[in-house]
Amino acid sequence: MWQNFKNGFIKENPVFALFLGMCSALAISTSLNNAIGMGVCVTLVLLFSNVIISLMRKLIPDEIRIPVYIVVIASLVTIVEMLVHAYAPALYQSLGVFLSLVVVNCIILGRAEAFASKNGVAASAVDGIGMGLGYTFALILISAVREFLATGGIHFANPFNSEQILFGFSIDALKGFTIPLMSGPVGAFLTFACFAALFAMLKERAAQKEKEAQKK
């Protein structure tokens, strides 16, 4: 089970290794705030959808399993969206339409179909949390690089009170040398490509080591 959880981070990281959920990962990774907010929302939805679908896996008639998954996921997303709207309005505003678009985030449907529909509740819950945190981790990496290069600093504000900054720094020496391009779509693709390459390299190395170990 620990292996399942760990898989979500590196070997099967949903964004860098499975290339799932890229639309939202590229679009909202402009700031650390958005990345963490979005990551938490996706993790919550993923956890509950995996648990619910795993509970129902023996009841769902095979022909209509996809519509059932969609109903479950869409309801969970709507609920999370309402909660964010009510209790973290600043986050709601900065995530905008991408919060509702979590419905079509392929990580969630993908894990429902590939994992939760075949495994027990506990394993599915762990898989949901692992994949969700893997997604959050990927978003944090991309957004930290993008926010730093685009604004010369990184900030994280309390999502429930946007005026309270929990963590942040900015380097004054970089004023005038920032790259606004990095906050646009081009910056998203550039950063994403570098990270994807890095992860591919790590995977390749691990595979090679395994091969050598087998030869011996």
């Binding site: 209509i64 109903v71 479950v72 309801s75 609920i79 009510a86």
Partner: protein
């Protein structure tokens, strides 16, 4: 056999949807009041940009028209008209607040939403133009237009005409 399977599938999906609907209703009832309070607080914060220490109340009693979205009375200080019109950018209408004192003389204009062409229509909202153009005017004819920004100016003129008409009715 096929029919039976179909009926089971339909019933199952209907059941899941019903449960999902119930859950959404429950959370909607739970969050709707907080969302409404947040929206009102935000609206008050926007209005306070025009009258920093004002107390605001939305009022009616005027002939409704498409340019006027809402009228607020600022207790003891004046009025605010929230107006809208389409300028050069047809997909994003201009939305502005126009402040009036108790005699119906303008105290200023504040854009809430505008995506007019940068460097042309957008100049209508830059403070070095908008402050003198929209302060201390007692009729729409006195408000300055901006050459090179005809469509934006025209939209603002329509908003100002409607605002002054509404002010005649409510003040």
């Amino acid at each position: 056999m096929v029919v039976k399977k179909m009926i089971i599938s339909v019933l199952f999906l209907a059941f899941v949807s019903a449960v999902a609907g119930a859950a959404i209703t429950f959370f909607n009832d739970m969050t709707a009041p907080t969302i409404a309070i947040n929206a009102e607080r935000e609206e008050q914060a926007t209005l306070r940009k025009m009258f920093p220490d004002g107390e605001f109340a939305e009022i009616g009693g005027y002939t409704e028209c498409e340019e006027v979205l809402a009228v607020y009375e600022v207790k003891g200080q004046g009025y605010i008209v929230k107006g809208t019109a389409v300028g050069y950018n047809s997909s994003t209408p201009i939305i502005v607040l126009v402040g009036f004192d108790q005699n119906g003389v303008t105290t200023g204009m504040l854009p809430l939403q505008q995506q007019e062409t940068s460097g042309y229509g957008s100049r209508c909202f830059e403070t070095d133009f908008s402050v003198p153009a929209y302060t201390g005017k007692s009729s729409a004819e006195e408000v300055d237009m901006l050459s090179g920004a005809t469509r934006t100016s025209d939209a603002l003129r329509r908003i100002m005409e409607a605002s002054f008409r509404v002010m005649e009715e409510v003040k």
